[in-house]
């Protein structure tokens, strides 16, 4: 397989994996803390770590 295809595939995989992890974490925080802090609303409503 060409190196270029491997690099592009890895970038796409990392991006997709990061998005899925982020959405799952947001769903969990929404359930636990009330606000997932994933809306970009720029308010002070941040979830506790």
């Amino acid at each position: 397989m060409k190196l270029e295809a491997v690099i592009v595939g890895a970038i796409i995989g990392v991006a997709a994996g990061w998005l899925i992890r982020r959405w799952l974490a947001a769903a969990r925080r929404r359930k636990e803390d009330g606000c997932a802090g994933d809306c970009g609303c720029a308010t002070k409503l941040k979830p506790k770590k």
Binding site: E4, V8, A15, A16, R22, D33, C35, D38, C39, K46
Partner: protein
């Protein structure tokens, strides 16, 4: 949650609009930490305050409230925080009560209640400059003596006056443990309170403070009893008997607390405030104009027109600079990867094209939040709320619905959470259902792109503002009848009175306004660098693959005399059409055809269901990939202006006609395109039924309204 290195914990408490947060900022500088109280979405803002003698304390800014009656989650948090009942938080070592100097009687009611907690107190008479301007002279020494010797300090936090005195007073209160003199309850009420405290202590096995006993006796809300674990069966009889005892002494049990406190405070304030000649009523004079029944809404509309006009006008050049930067980056990056066309397309068309298209709106976002900050801090936003309240009260919404609806213009998520302050569950449900109709700031880049690319260049800059206001009103236009049907016909919500306190007009403090603008800009850039960045990579992949080389060969063979440039453009367009994204877009496009959307807009609309602003970066990617990496000067607005239908009855006509542009904006104004909003709605309404209903209703409404707009405008034009 408390910072161990800070040592002592001091709580800042006060009525709303007393300048509490400004004082907090003045005392802590920028050394602030923001978090949540556990289990509730009430912000916990804390910072380190230097008392001036090398001693540092942790200062926590509690939510503004009028009394300690726990009617809402905010009020409950204050009571729990002051009583030391929050897990991981200590009981405050001292309380700083921030009081509006121009309204001591009403503000000191809270001080009188806080006295029952028995904590050392400092009373800060804030906005002292305004009191002086109004000709009020306050004898702080006399007030201090009458309140039991607690430090009473004059300050004007927004001017930075008296801050050092406040620091010294905190140090003094902590050292001397000065507490506010408590109210003396009439004999029967005192006996009733003692009965309640004794019974609750016996039943729960916990010590009951004087403050808790008052909450148990005077509040209909059972939150204190629930917290103490005093069951309905245990408390029902004793509370009824104690309240009868209060009633027998001539007091209504629900009104006894304020009556006794106010009588006590009137005696405390006797001779403390001397009224002289001043410029009282300047705010009232301005309000006579701005809140006028007919002139008020007209002036409001004028202010909004100027507001949106300025956003476009001021942002024009910075946007062009960012666009030039994005184009330059593309021209630098693309040639270095000529040997790697796939990687070249990912970087130039996908990442730079998509993220760049989004980042271009940074100046508009900055200016938008600058103006919002000015409107809020000057006191006009509360007047806007008052003007709009007339509209909402007509459609049957509870007065308390109004603040969540207003904050929905920034973001629906905190607005949905703030519906928790509405006690009536039916009114809360109706409010939560219509909150997503408010035009949130995520819709702004979509409107801005359409206005900047089509409305401004064709109809002039004035129309950009008109269309922007129109789009912000579209949601309202549909929210009002929706709320009417919900409140009057389906849920039958009982109307309730609402009191809105109008803060006095003041000059916004540049540091506060710029700080808020900076926070929003950081959030916007962070979103571009994370979520938008990741989504553009996925959208690029779907628009790039599969890439069948036979397509290029076929096009070259069928265009033997065409120039290389023309053939290349055709090849790029063919590649994007046969990509996963192209195939999917073309399959779904017939659904959106009545709205005048081609397959690229359809793909943008569908990709933006998780978050509506994604359409900007999606269009950025699909138009970049379709044009090829060498078309680096074709930025999104230009590419959209040039786009034409390639087939069908509209072949050769612009895709982005006025009808399609307006239909697209109306669709975005009404459609439920925000995953976190739907999830929060489900959480706040206790299930997926209302969230699913909201999604289906709003999406169907958006499709119908978009179709109507397209079909009417296309016929008229």
């Amino acid at each position: 949650m408390s910072s161990p290195e800070a040592g002592l914990l001091v709580a800042l408490v006060g009525n709303p609009n007393t300048g509490k947060s400004t004082l907090f900022n003045a005392l802590t500088g920028l050394r602030q930490r923001v978090g949540n109280y556990p289990g509730v979405t009430v912000a916990r803002k804390s910072g380190t305050c230097d008392l001036g003698d090398g001693q540092k304390v942790e200062l926590v800014d509690l939510p503004g409230l009028y009394s300690l009656a726990a009617a809402s989650p905010d009020e409950q948090v204050v009571i729990d925080a002051l009583s030391g009942n929050i897990a991981g938080d200590r009981r405050p070592d001292a309380v700083v009560l921030v009081v509006d100097s121009t309204n001591l009687l009403r503000n000191l009611f809270l001080a009188s209640q806080v006295a029952e907690l028995g904590r050392p107190v400092v009373i800060v008479l804030n906005q002292a400059d305004v009191a002086k301007e109004q000709g009020l002279r306050i004898d702080t020494e006399l007030l201090s003596r009458r309140l039991g010797g607690v430090p009473v300090v004059l300050s004007s936090a927004w001017k930075g006056e008296g801050i050092l005195d406040v620091r010294r007073a905190i140090a003094s209160a902590v050292a001397k443990q000065t507490v506010v003199k408590r109210v003396v309850w009439p004999t029967n009420i005192a006996a009733a309170l003692a009965d309640v405290a004794t019974a609750a202590a016996a039943d729960t096995g916990k010590p009951i403070s004087a403050a808790d006993a008052q909450r148990l006796l005077f509040d209909t809300n059972p939150s204190t009893a629930d917290r103490l674990g005093w069951t309905v069966a245990q408390r029902e009889k004793i509370l009824r008997s104690a309240r009868d005892r209060v009633r027998n002494s001539g007091y209504n049990p629900m009104a006894a607390e304020p009556l006794v406190h106010y009588a006590h405070l009137r005696a405390v304030l006797e001779g403390v405030v001397v009224e002289g000649a001043g410029k009282a009523g300047r705010s009232a004079a301005v309000d006579r104009l701005l809140l006028h029944r007919f002139l008020g809404p007209v002036l409001f509309l004028g202010i909004m027109l100027g507001f949106f006009g300025s956003v476009f006008w001021l942002a024009k050049f910075p946007m062009e600079w960012i666009q030039a930067g994005v184009d330059w980056t593309k021209t630098v990056v693309a040639p270095t990867l000529d040997a790697y066309p796939m990687l070249q397309s990912l970087l130039a068309d996908g990442i730079i094209g998509g993220v760049g298209a989004f980042l271009v709106f940074l100046p508009q976002i900055l200016i938008l939040f600058l103006f919002i900050g000015i409107l809020e801090d000057s006191g006009y936003m509360a007047r806007a709320a008052f003007i709009m309240d007339r509209l909402f009260s007509w459609c049957g919404l509870n007065g308390k619905s109004f603040v969540p609806l207003l904050s929905g213009f920034a973001c629906a998520i905190p607005s949905l959470l703030s519906t928790r302050t509405i006690e009536d569950p039916k009114a809360r449900l109706a409010t939560a259902f219509v909150v997503p109709f408010m035009s949130c700031s995520a819709r702004f880049p979509v409107y801005a792109l359409m206005c900047a690319a089509f409305i401004g260049p064709i109809y002039g800059p004035g129309w950009q503002s008109v269309v922007m206001i129109g789009m912000h009103c579209v949601g309202l236009l549909f929210a009002v009848p929706t709320a009417f049907v919900l409140t009057r016909l389906l849920l039958k919500v009982k109307p309730q009175p609402f009191v809105l306190e109008l803060p006095r007009y003041q000059m916004p403090k540049p540091r506060d306004v710029i700080w808020r603008m900076w926070q929003n800009a950081a959030e916007f850039v962070s979103k571009a660098g994370t979520v938008i960045f990741a989504i553009t990579i996925i959208v690029w992949a779907l628009s790039y693959f599969p890439r069948d080389v036979s397509v290029a060969e076929r096009i070259k063979a069928s265009n033997p005399v065409a120039s290389e440039e023309v053939v290349n453009a055709k090849v790029q367009a063919a590649y994007v059409e046969q990509s996963y994204m192209g195939r999917f877009g073309k399959a779904v496009q017939p659904i959106f055809d009545p709205l005048g959307f081609d397959w690229k807009i359809t793909v943008g609309v569908l990709a933006s269901f998780p978050a509506r602003e994604v359409i900007v970066s999606t269009l950025g990617v699909t138009y970049s990939v379709g044009e090829g990496a060498e078309a680096d000067s074709q930025h999104l607005r230009k590419a959209m202006q040039d786009a034409k239908w390639s087939e069908g009855p509209r072949a050769g006509t612009p895709i982005f006609s006025l009808a399609a542009v307006l239909a697209l904006m109306v669709f975005f104004a009404l459609c439920s395109q925000c995953g976190p909003t739907i999830a929060t709605l489900a959480q706040e309404t206790g299930g997926w039924k209302w969230a699913a209903g909201s999604f289906v209703y709003m999406t169907a409404l958006a499709w119908l309204a978009g179709t109507a707009v397209y079909q009417v405008v296309i016929r008229l034009s």
